[in-house]
Protein backbone atom coordinates (compact mmCIF):
# COMPACT_ATOMS: atom_id res chain seq x y z
CA UNK A 1 0.00 0.00 0.00
CA UNK A 2 2.90 2.33 0.71
CA UNK A 3 3.97 1.75 -2.89
CA UNK A 4 0.51 2.86 -3.97
CA UNK A 5 0.80 5.97 -1.83
CA UNK A 6 4.08 6.95 -3.43
CA UNK A 7 2.59 6.18 -6.82
CA UNK A 8 -0.31 8.46 -6.10
CA UNK A 9 2.04 11.26 -5.09
CA UNK A 10 3.81 10.90 -8.40
CA UNK A 11 0.46 11.03 -10.15
CA UNK A 12 -0.51 14.25 -8.42
CA UNK A 13 2.58 15.95 -9.66
CA UNK A 14 1.69 14.86 -13.17
CA UNK A 15 -1.98 15.48 -13.38
CA UNK A 16 -1.65 19.01 -14.59
CA UNK A 17 -0.33 17.65 -17.84
CA UNK A 18 -2.28 16.00 -20.59
CA UNK A 19 -3.71 12.54 -20.42
CA UNK A 20 -0.81 10.98 -22.30
CA UNK A 21 1.54 11.56 -19.42
CA UNK A 22 -0.80 10.09 -16.87
CA UNK A 23 -2.40 7.21 -18.65
CA UNK A 24 0.04 4.48 -17.72
CA UNK A 25 -0.06 5.46 -14.06
CA UNK A 26 -3.83 5.62 -14.19
CA UNK A 27 -4.12 2.15 -15.68
CA UNK A 28 -1.67 0.54 -13.30
CA UNK A 29 -2.70 2.16 -10.07
CA UNK A 30 -6.45 2.16 -10.45
CA UNK A 31 -6.30 -1.50 -11.41
CA UNK A 32 -4.01 -2.14 -8.45
CA UNK A 33 -6.80 -0.66 -6.34
CA UNK A 34 -8.40 -4.09 -6.56
CA UNK A 35 -5.98 -4.93 -3.75
CA UNK A 36 -7.98 -2.55 -1.58
CA UNK A 37 -10.88 -4.96 -1.54
CA UNK A 38 -8.53 -7.69 -0.34
CA UNK A 39 -7.17 -5.43 2.39
CA UNK A 40 -10.69 -4.80 3.68
CA UNK A 41 -11.53 -8.48 3.51
CA UNK A 42 -8.53 -9.53 5.58
CA UNK A 43 -9.01 -6.67 7.98
CA UNK A 44 -5.88 -4.54 7.72
CA UNK A 45 -8.10 -1.71 6.53
CA UNK A 46 -11.23 -0.87 8.47
CA UNK A 47 -13.67 -0.25 5.66
CA UNK A 48 -16.70 -2.07 4.35
CA UNK A 49 -15.76 -4.70 1.76
CA UNK A 50 -18.96 -4.08 -0.16
CA UNK A 51 -18.55 -0.29 -0.39
CA UNK A 52 -14.90 -0.60 -1.33
CA UNK A 53 -15.60 -3.28 -3.94
CA UNK A 54 -18.30 -1.06 -5.35
CA UNK A 55 -16.02 1.96 -5.65
CA UNK A 56 -13.14 -0.03 -7.10
CA UNK A 57 -15.44 -1.69 -9.64
CA UNK A 58 -16.84 1.62 -10.78
CA UNK A 59 -13.35 3.15 -11.05
CA UNK A 60 -11.90 0.20 -12.95
CA UNK A 61 -14.92 0.24 -15.23
CA UNK A 62 -14.47 3.93 -15.98
CA UNK A 63 -10.75 3.53 -16.65
CA UNK A 64 -10.87 0.41 -18.83
CA UNK A 65 -14.44 0.25 -20.06
CA UNK A 66 -14.73 3.87 -21.06
CA UNK A 67 -11.49 5.86 -21.04
CA UNK A 68 -9.24 3.16 -22.48
CA UNK A 69 -11.85 1.79 -24.87
CA UNK A 70 -12.85 5.11 -26.39
CA UNK A 71 -9.62 7.00 -27.09
CA UNK A 72 -11.55 10.01 -28.37
CA UNK A 73 -12.43 11.03 -24.81
CA UNK A 74 -8.81 11.32 -23.69
CA UNK A 75 -8.50 15.04 -24.10
CA UNK A 76 -11.92 16.05 -22.90
CA UNK A 77 -12.48 18.13 -19.79
CA UNK A 78 -14.41 15.30 -18.14
CA UNK A 79 -11.37 13.04 -18.02
CA UNK A 80 -9.17 15.76 -16.55
CA UNK A 81 -11.81 16.44 -13.92
CA UNK A 82 -12.14 12.91 -12.65
CA UNK A 83 -8.40 12.23 -12.76
CA UNK A 84 -7.86 15.36 -10.70
CA UNK A 85 -10.57 14.51 -8.20
CA UNK A 86 -9.44 10.88 -7.86
CA UNK A 87 -5.75 11.78 -7.50
CA UNK A 88 -6.27 14.26 -4.69
CA UNK A 89 -8.71 11.94 -2.96
CA UNK A 90 -6.34 9.01 -3.19
CA UNK A 91 -3.38 10.94 -1.77
CA UNK A 92 -5.42 11.81 1.28
CA UNK A 93 -7.05 8.40 1.56
CA UNK A 94 -3.86 6.34 1.27
CA UNK A 95 -2.01 8.62 3.68
CA UNK A 96 -4.91 8.15 6.08
CA UNK A 97 -4.74 4.34 5.76
CA UNK A 98 -0.98 4.31 6.12
CA UNK A 99 -1.11 6.31 9.33
CA UNK A 100 -3.94 4.08 10.58
CA UNK A 101 -1.63 1.11 10.18
CA UNK A 102 0.89 2.81 12.45
CA UNK A 103 -1.80 3.54 15.04
CA UNK A 104 -2.35 7.27 15.13
CA UNK A 105 -3.78 9.55 12.49
CA UNK A 106 -2.97 13.28 12.62
CA UNK A 107 -6.19 15.17 13.14
CA UNK A 108 -5.42 17.39 10.15
CA UNK A 109 -5.39 14.36 7.88
CA UNK A 110 -8.62 13.05 9.29
CA UNK A 111 -10.19 16.45 8.82
CA UNK A 112 -9.02 16.53 5.19
CA UNK A 113 -10.37 13.07 4.53
CA UNK A 114 -13.80 13.91 5.82
CA UNK A 115 -13.97 17.44 4.39
CA UNK A 116 -12.34 17.48 0.96
CA UNK A 117 -14.86 14.99 -0.38
CA UNK A 118 -17.56 17.65 -0.14
CA UNK A 119 -16.05 19.30 -3.22
CA UNK A 120 -14.13 16.39 -4.72
CA UNK A 121 -17.08 14.00 -4.93
CA UNK A 122 -19.26 16.25 -7.10
CA UNK A 123 -16.26 17.22 -9.25
CA UNK A 124 -15.30 13.59 -9.74
CA UNK A 125 -18.85 12.48 -10.47
CA UNK A 126 -19.35 15.31 -12.96
CA UNK A 127 -16.11 14.36 -14.66
CA UNK A 128 -17.13 10.71 -14.80
CA UNK A 129 -20.57 11.44 -16.18
CA UNK A 130 -19.18 13.87 -18.76
CA UNK A 131 -16.67 11.27 -19.87
CA UNK A 132 -19.30 8.58 -20.32
CA UNK A 133 -21.61 11.02 -22.10
CA UNK A 134 -18.86 12.09 -24.50
CA UNK A 135 -18.05 8.48 -25.28
CA UNK A 136 -21.60 7.61 -26.29
CA UNK A 137 -21.57 8.62 -29.98
CA UNK A 138 -18.34 6.70 -30.57
CA UNK A 139 -19.71 3.64 -28.76
CA UNK A 140 -22.84 3.68 -30.86
CA UNK A 141 -20.91 4.10 -34.10
CA UNK A 142 -18.32 1.42 -33.39
CA UNK A 143 -20.62 -1.11 -31.73
CA UNK A 144 -17.87 -1.90 -29.26
CA UNK A 145 -18.50 -4.63 -26.66
CA UNK A 146 -21.89 -5.27 -28.19
CA UNK A 147 -23.42 -8.45 -29.50
CA UNK A 148 -26.46 -8.83 -31.70
CA UNK A 149 -28.79 -11.64 -32.71
CA UNK A 150 -28.57 -14.06 -34.33
CA UNK A 151 -25.61 -15.79 -32.72
CA UNK A 152 -24.65 -19.18 -31.26
CA UNK A 153 -25.22 -18.07 -27.66
CA UNK A 154 -28.68 -16.71 -28.32
CA UNK A 155 -27.89 -13.59 -26.31
CA UNK A 156 -27.45 -9.91 -27.04
CA UNK A 157 -25.84 -6.96 -25.34
CA UNK A 158 -25.91 -3.29 -26.25
CA UNK A 159 -23.02 -1.43 -24.66
CA UNK A 160 -24.53 1.92 -25.62
CA UNK A 161 -27.74 1.24 -23.65
CA UNK A 162 -25.66 -0.22 -20.86
CA UNK A 163 -23.67 3.01 -20.54
CA UNK A 164 -26.87 5.01 -20.42
CA UNK A 165 -28.14 2.74 -17.65
CA UNK A 166 -24.89 3.31 -15.76
CA UNK A 167 -25.32 7.06 -16.06
CA UNK A 168 -28.88 6.80 -14.76
CA UNK A 169 -27.70 4.70 -11.84
CA UNK A 170 -25.71 7.66 -10.56
CA UNK A 171 -29.02 9.32 -9.70
CA UNK A 172 -29.97 7.02 -6.85
CA UNK A 173 -26.43 5.97 -5.91
CA UNK A 174 -24.54 9.25 -5.68
CA UNK A 175 -26.85 10.86 -3.05
CA UNK A 176 -26.61 7.72 -0.93
CA UNK A 177 -22.80 7.66 -0.98
CA UNK A 178 -22.59 11.41 -0.43
CA UNK A 179 -24.98 11.34 2.51
CA UNK A 180 -23.13 8.37 3.97
CA UNK A 181 -19.90 10.40 3.89
CA UNK A 182 -21.66 13.39 5.43
CA UNK A 183 -23.00 11.19 8.21
CA UNK A 184 -19.52 9.76 8.77
CA UNK A 185 -18.19 13.30 8.93
CA UNK A 186 -20.75 14.20 11.60
CA UNK A 187 -19.88 11.11 13.56
CA UNK A 188 -16.09 11.39 13.40
CA UNK A 189 -15.31 15.08 13.16
CA UNK A 190 -18.52 16.47 14.59
CA UNK A 191 -17.91 14.37 17.70
CA UNK A 192 -14.28 15.46 17.99
CA UNK A 193 -15.25 19.11 17.83
CA UNK A 194 -17.63 18.70 20.74
CA UNK A 195 -14.99 16.92 22.80
CA UNK A 196 -12.47 19.67 22.14
CA UNK A 197 -14.67 22.49 23.36
CA UNK A 198 -15.64 20.68 26.56
Amino acid sequence: MLVLVIGQYMKTRHHFGIFNEVDRFLYVFQTAAVLEVLHCAIGIVRSSVVLTAFQVTSRVFLVWGVTYSVPQVHNTIGVTMFILAWAVTEVIRYSFYTFSLFGTVPYMLQWCRYTFFILLYPIGVTGELLTIYTSLPRVKASGIYSMQLPNKLNASFDYYSFLILIMLSYIPIFPQLYCHMLAQRQKIIGGKMIKKTQ
Partner: protein, 303 residues
Amino acid sequence: MEIEIVHAKSGKTLATLQNLAPSATVLDVKKEYKKLKPHLYIERQSFRSEPRGKSLKDEDQLRNIGLDKGGKIYFKDLGPQLSWTTVFLTEYAGPLVIYLIFYSRPALIYGANATRTRAQVVNVAAACWTFHYAKRLFETIFIHRFSHATMPIFNIFKNSMYYWGFAAYVAYYVNHPLYTPPAFGDRQMYLGLAGFLINELGNFSIHVALRNLRPPGTKVRKIPMPASNPLTWLFSLVTCPNYTYEIGAWLGFTIMTQCLPAGLFTLAGAYQMTLWAWGKHRNYKKEFKDYPKVRKPIIPFLL
Protein backbone atom coordinates in the same frame (compact mmCIF):
# COMPACT_ATOMS: atom_id res chain seq x y z
CA MET B 1 -48.63 -12.08 37.65
CA GLU B 2 -47.74 -9.18 35.43
CA ILE B 3 -46.11 -9.36 32.03
CA GLU B 4 -44.77 -6.08 30.70
CA ILE B 5 -44.51 -5.83 26.93
CA VAL B 6 -41.58 -3.60 26.04
CA HIS B 7 -40.66 -2.35 22.56
CA ALA B 8 -37.39 -4.10 21.68
CA LYS B 9 -35.79 -1.08 20.01
CA SER B 10 -37.09 1.91 21.97
CA GLY B 11 -37.48 0.32 25.41
CA LYS B 12 -40.92 1.89 25.76
CA THR B 13 -43.60 -0.04 27.63
CA LEU B 14 -46.29 -0.92 25.14
CA ALA B 15 -48.72 -2.83 27.35
CA THR B 16 -49.07 -4.74 30.59
CA LEU B 17 -50.83 -8.09 30.69
CA GLN B 18 -52.28 -9.16 34.04
CA ASN B 19 -54.15 -12.39 33.59
CA LEU B 20 -51.50 -14.81 32.34
CA ALA B 21 -50.51 -17.96 34.22
CA PRO B 22 -46.87 -19.17 34.41
CA SER B 23 -47.88 -22.08 32.21
CA ALA B 24 -49.14 -19.73 29.53
CA THR B 25 -47.27 -19.78 26.25
CA VAL B 26 -45.84 -17.08 24.00
CA LEU B 27 -48.83 -17.74 21.76
CA ASP B 28 -51.13 -16.77 24.63
CA VAL B 29 -49.20 -13.53 25.02
CA LYS B 30 -49.63 -12.87 21.32
CA LYS B 31 -53.35 -13.53 21.51
CA GLU B 32 -53.74 -11.20 24.47
CA TYR B 33 -51.70 -8.49 22.78
CA LYS B 34 -53.81 -8.80 19.65
CA LYS B 35 -56.87 -8.05 21.76
CA LEU B 36 -55.25 -4.76 22.70
CA LYS B 37 -53.92 -3.99 19.24
CA PRO B 38 -56.25 -5.67 16.73
CA HIS B 39 -54.13 -4.75 13.72
CA LEU B 40 -51.24 -6.85 15.03
CA TYR B 41 -52.28 -10.30 13.95
CA ILE B 42 -50.35 -13.19 15.48
CA GLU B 43 -47.98 -13.82 12.55
CA ARG B 44 -46.76 -10.26 12.71
CA GLN B 45 -45.75 -10.39 16.37
CA SER B 46 -42.30 -11.40 17.48
CA PHE B 47 -41.36 -11.70 21.16
CA ARG B 48 -37.89 -12.14 22.65
CA SER B 49 -36.49 -12.63 26.14
CA GLU B 50 -33.76 -10.11 25.37
CA PRO B 51 -34.15 -6.91 23.32
CA ARG B 52 -31.85 -8.27 20.62
CA GLY B 53 -32.40 -11.97 21.19
CA LYS B 54 -33.87 -14.63 18.95
CA SER B 55 -37.61 -14.80 18.41
CA LEU B 56 -39.32 -17.08 20.89
CA LYS B 57 -41.41 -19.97 19.66
CA ASP B 58 -45.19 -19.88 20.07
CA GLU B 59 -45.05 -23.07 22.15
CA ASP B 60 -42.49 -21.73 24.65
CA GLN B 61 -44.01 -21.47 28.11
CA LEU B 62 -43.49 -18.30 30.13
CA ARG B 63 -42.19 -20.27 33.11
CA ASN B 64 -39.50 -21.85 30.89
CA ILE B 65 -38.11 -18.50 29.77
CA GLY B 66 -37.69 -17.01 33.21
CA LEU B 67 -41.06 -15.25 33.38
CA ASP B 68 -42.79 -17.57 35.88
CA LYS B 69 -43.20 -14.65 38.27
CA GLY B 70 -43.82 -12.04 35.61
CA GLY B 71 -41.37 -9.59 34.07
CA LYS B 72 -40.47 -8.00 30.77
CA ILE B 73 -40.88 -9.44 27.34
CA TYR B 74 -39.58 -7.66 24.24
CA PHE B 75 -41.72 -7.05 21.18
CA LYS B 76 -40.93 -6.52 17.52
CA ASP B 77 -43.50 -5.84 14.79
CA LEU B 78 -42.50 -7.95 11.79
CA GLY B 79 -44.60 -5.81 9.48
CA PRO B 80 -47.41 -6.89 7.20
CA GLN B 81 -47.15 -10.58 6.45
CA LEU B 82 -48.25 -12.77 3.63
CA SER B 83 -48.74 -16.50 3.77
CA TRP B 84 -45.99 -18.49 2.04
CA THR B 85 -48.62 -20.03 -0.20
CA THR B 86 -49.70 -16.61 -1.47
CA VAL B 87 -46.14 -15.57 -2.14
CA PHE B 88 -45.18 -18.77 -3.93
CA LEU B 89 -48.29 -18.80 -6.10
CA THR B 90 -47.61 -15.23 -7.22
CA GLU B 91 -43.93 -15.87 -7.83
CA TYR B 92 -44.56 -19.00 -9.89
CA ALA B 93 -47.69 -18.01 -11.81
CA GLY B 94 -45.85 -15.02 -13.24
CA PRO B 95 -43.11 -16.93 -15.08
CA LEU B 96 -45.68 -19.35 -16.45
CA VAL B 97 -47.82 -16.60 -17.92
CA ILE B 98 -44.94 -14.44 -19.09
CA TYR B 99 -43.07 -17.19 -20.92
CA LEU B 100 -46.27 -18.36 -22.61
CA ILE B 101 -47.00 -14.83 -23.80
CA PHE B 102 -43.60 -14.68 -25.51
CA TYR B 103 -44.16 -18.17 -26.92
CA SER B 104 -47.77 -17.95 -28.09
CA ARG B 105 -48.01 -14.28 -29.06
CA PRO B 106 -44.65 -13.43 -30.63
CA ALA B 107 -46.17 -10.63 -32.68
CA LEU B 108 -46.90 -8.80 -29.41
CA ILE B 109 -43.24 -8.82 -28.44
CA TYR B 110 -41.20 -8.94 -31.63
CA GLY B 111 -43.48 -7.05 -33.98
CA ALA B 112 -45.80 -8.16 -36.75
CA ASN B 113 -43.04 -9.80 -38.80
CA ALA B 114 -42.31 -12.14 -35.95
CA THR B 115 -44.01 -15.30 -37.10
CA ARG B 116 -41.76 -17.71 -38.85
CA THR B 117 -41.17 -21.42 -38.63
CA ARG B 118 -39.98 -22.46 -35.23
CA ALA B 119 -37.23 -24.89 -34.45
CA GLN B 120 -38.51 -28.02 -32.70
CA VAL B 121 -36.39 -27.20 -29.68
CA VAL B 122 -38.30 -23.94 -29.07
CA ASN B 123 -41.52 -25.93 -28.65
CA VAL B 124 -39.81 -28.43 -26.37
CA ALA B 125 -38.35 -25.58 -24.30
CA ALA B 126 -41.78 -24.01 -23.85
CA ALA B 127 -43.15 -27.37 -22.72
CA CYS B 128 -40.31 -27.81 -20.22
CA TRP B 129 -40.67 -24.30 -18.81
CA THR B 130 -44.42 -24.75 -18.44
CA PHE B 131 -43.95 -28.14 -16.81
CA HIS B 132 -41.42 -26.73 -14.35
CA TYR B 133 -43.63 -23.93 -13.08
CA ALA B 134 -46.84 -25.97 -13.18
CA LYS B 135 -45.02 -28.53 -11.04
CA ARG B 136 -43.96 -25.79 -8.62
CA LEU B 137 -47.52 -24.53 -8.29
CA PHE B 138 -48.75 -28.08 -7.69
CA GLU B 139 -46.11 -28.67 -5.04
CA THR B 140 -46.89 -25.41 -3.29
CA ILE B 141 -50.51 -26.38 -2.93
CA PHE B 142 -50.28 -30.13 -2.31
CA ILE B 143 -46.78 -31.17 -1.31
CA HIS B 144 -44.84 -28.66 0.74
CA ARG B 145 -45.29 -28.36 4.48
CA PHE B 146 -44.10 -24.94 5.65
CA SER B 147 -42.51 -24.29 9.04
CA HIS B 148 -43.57 -20.67 9.20
CA ALA B 149 -47.02 -19.63 8.10
CA THR B 150 -45.95 -16.24 6.75
CA MET B 151 -43.14 -14.05 5.45
CA PRO B 152 -42.74 -10.24 5.33
CA ILE B 153 -44.68 -8.54 2.56
CA PHE B 154 -41.58 -6.98 1.04
CA ASN B 155 -40.38 -10.40 -0.04
CA ILE B 156 -43.12 -10.80 -2.59
CA PHE B 157 -41.93 -7.76 -4.57
CA LYS B 158 -38.29 -8.71 -4.39
CA ASN B 159 -38.88 -12.37 -5.27
CA SER B 160 -41.39 -11.64 -8.01
CA MET B 161 -39.00 -9.21 -9.67
CA TYR B 162 -36.42 -11.98 -9.75
CA TYR B 163 -38.70 -14.72 -11.11
CA TRP B 164 -40.71 -12.59 -13.49
CA GLY B 165 -37.66 -10.65 -14.66
CA PHE B 166 -35.68 -13.75 -15.52
CA ALA B 167 -38.74 -15.35 -17.13
CA ALA B 168 -39.00 -12.42 -19.54
CA TYR B 169 -35.23 -12.39 -20.10
CA VAL B 170 -35.01 -16.08 -21.02
CA ALA B 171 -38.31 -16.19 -22.90
CA TYR B 172 -37.26 -13.22 -25.06
CA TYR B 173 -34.22 -15.02 -26.47
CA VAL B 174 -35.53 -18.57 -26.79
CA ASN B 175 -38.69 -17.48 -28.61
CA HIS B 176 -36.95 -14.81 -30.69
CA PRO B 177 -37.43 -14.96 -34.50
CA LEU B 178 -33.63 -14.95 -34.81
CA TYR B 179 -33.15 -17.82 -32.33
CA THR B 180 -30.34 -20.19 -33.33
CA PRO B 181 -30.92 -23.89 -32.53
CA PRO B 182 -28.18 -25.78 -30.66
CA ALA B 183 -24.91 -26.47 -32.46
CA PHE B 184 -25.14 -30.26 -32.16
CA GLY B 185 -28.74 -30.34 -33.32
CA ASP B 186 -31.25 -32.91 -32.13
CA ARG B 187 -28.67 -34.87 -30.15
CA GLN B 188 -28.02 -31.83 -27.98
CA MET B 189 -31.72 -31.17 -27.62
CA TYR B 190 -32.46 -34.71 -26.47
CA LEU B 191 -29.49 -34.74 -24.12
CA GLY B 192 -30.62 -31.50 -22.50
CA LEU B 193 -34.21 -32.72 -22.37
CA ALA B 194 -33.24 -36.01 -20.74
CA GLY B 195 -31.17 -34.16 -18.17
CA PHE B 196 -34.03 -31.78 -17.51
CA LEU B 197 -36.63 -34.53 -17.04
CA ILE B 198 -34.50 -36.76 -14.80
CA ASN B 199 -33.63 -33.82 -12.57
CA GLU B 200 -37.23 -32.63 -12.39
CA LEU B 201 -38.25 -36.12 -11.31
CA GLY B 202 -35.43 -36.13 -8.78
CA ASN B 203 -36.48 -32.76 -7.41
CA PHE B 204 -40.05 -33.97 -7.05
CA SER B 205 -38.95 -37.18 -5.32
CA ILE B 206 -37.03 -35.18 -2.75
CA HIS B 207 -39.99 -32.89 -2.09
CA VAL B 208 -42.22 -35.90 -1.49
CA ALA B 209 -39.62 -37.51 0.75
CA LEU B 210 -39.33 -34.33 2.81
CA ARG B 211 -43.09 -34.14 3.10
CA ASN B 212 -43.29 -37.68 4.42
CA LEU B 213 -40.63 -36.83 6.97
CA ARG B 214 -43.06 -34.51 8.74
CA PRO B 215 -46.45 -35.69 10.03
CA PRO B 216 -49.30 -33.33 9.05
CA GLY B 217 -49.88 -30.37 11.36
CA THR B 218 -46.55 -30.77 13.15
CA LYS B 219 -43.26 -28.92 12.96
CA VAL B 220 -41.14 -32.04 13.54
CA ARG B 221 -37.55 -31.96 12.29
CA LYS B 222 -35.72 -35.17 11.37
CA ILE B 223 -32.62 -36.00 9.35
CA PRO B 224 -33.68 -36.98 5.82
CA MET B 225 -32.37 -40.40 4.72
CA PRO B 226 -32.14 -42.25 1.39
CA ALA B 227 -35.23 -44.39 0.73
CA SER B 228 -36.31 -46.98 -1.83
CA ASN B 229 -36.56 -44.45 -4.69
CA PRO B 230 -33.05 -44.34 -6.26
CA LEU B 231 -33.41 -40.62 -6.80
CA THR B 232 -33.46 -40.14 -3.02
CA TRP B 233 -30.08 -41.85 -2.67
CA LEU B 234 -28.53 -38.42 -3.25
CA PHE B 235 -29.42 -37.73 0.40
CA SER B 236 -26.41 -39.84 1.37
CA LEU B 237 -24.13 -37.28 -0.28
CA VAL B 238 -25.87 -33.89 0.14
CA THR B 239 -28.14 -32.10 2.59
CA CYS B 240 -30.32 -30.45 -0.05
CA PRO B 241 -30.60 -32.80 -3.04
CA ASN B 242 -33.72 -30.94 -4.17
CA TYR B 243 -31.49 -27.94 -4.91
CA THR B 244 -28.92 -30.16 -6.58
CA TYR B 245 -31.60 -31.54 -8.88
CA GLU B 246 -32.97 -28.06 -9.55
CA ILE B 247 -29.55 -26.86 -10.76
CA GLY B 248 -29.31 -30.02 -12.86
CA ALA B 249 -32.69 -29.40 -14.45
CA TRP B 250 -31.79 -25.86 -15.46
CA LEU B 251 -28.42 -27.02 -16.77
CA GLY B 252 -30.35 -29.45 -18.96
CA PHE B 253 -32.58 -26.61 -20.14
CA THR B 254 -29.55 -24.44 -20.91
CA ILE B 255 -27.83 -27.21 -22.88
CA MET B 256 -31.06 -27.94 -24.74
CA THR B 257 -31.61 -24.32 -25.75
CA GLN B 258 -27.94 -23.28 -25.98
CA CYS B 259 -29.00 -19.91 -24.64
CA LEU B 260 -26.68 -17.75 -22.54
CA PRO B 261 -29.52 -15.97 -20.67
CA ALA B 262 -30.78 -19.41 -19.60
CA GLY B 263 -27.26 -20.14 -18.39
CA LEU B 264 -27.19 -16.90 -16.41
CA PHE B 265 -30.55 -17.80 -14.88
CA THR B 266 -29.15 -21.20 -13.92
CA LEU B 267 -26.13 -19.52 -12.36
CA ALA B 268 -28.20 -17.04 -10.37
CA GLY B 269 -30.42 -19.82 -9.05
CA ALA B 270 -27.42 -21.99 -8.23
CA TYR B 271 -25.83 -19.14 -6.28
CA GLN B 272 -28.94 -18.49 -4.19
CA MET B 273 -29.62 -22.17 -3.57
CA THR B 274 -26.01 -22.72 -2.51
CA LEU B 275 -26.39 -20.04 0.15
CA TRP B 276 -29.64 -21.62 1.35
CA ALA B 277 -28.08 -25.09 1.34
CA TRP B 278 -25.14 -23.89 3.45
CA GLY B 279 -27.61 -22.41 5.94
CA LYS B 280 -29.68 -25.59 6.14
CA HIS B 281 -26.55 -27.71 6.44
CA ARG B 282 -25.32 -25.60 9.34
CA ASN B 283 -28.69 -25.83 11.08
CA TYR B 284 -28.87 -29.60 10.70
CA LYS B 285 -25.37 -29.99 12.11
CA LYS B 286 -26.24 -27.77 15.06
CA GLU B 287 -29.49 -29.57 15.76
CA PHE B 288 -28.35 -33.17 15.28
CA LYS B 289 -25.06 -34.24 16.83
CA ASP B 290 -25.03 -37.40 14.73
CA TYR B 291 -25.51 -35.68 11.38
CA PRO B 292 -23.69 -37.70 8.68
CA LYS B 293 -20.23 -36.27 8.20
CA VAL B 294 -19.81 -37.29 4.56
CA ARG B 295 -22.69 -35.05 3.45
CA LYS B 296 -21.97 -31.77 1.72
CA PRO B 297 -24.59 -28.99 1.52
CA ILE B 298 -25.41 -29.06 -2.19
CA ILE B 299 -22.76 -30.56 -4.50
CA PRO B 300 -21.47 -34.04 -3.61
CA PHE B 301 -17.90 -33.94 -2.24
CA LEU B 302 -17.45 -30.31 -3.26
CA LEU B 303 -19.86 -27.65 -2.01
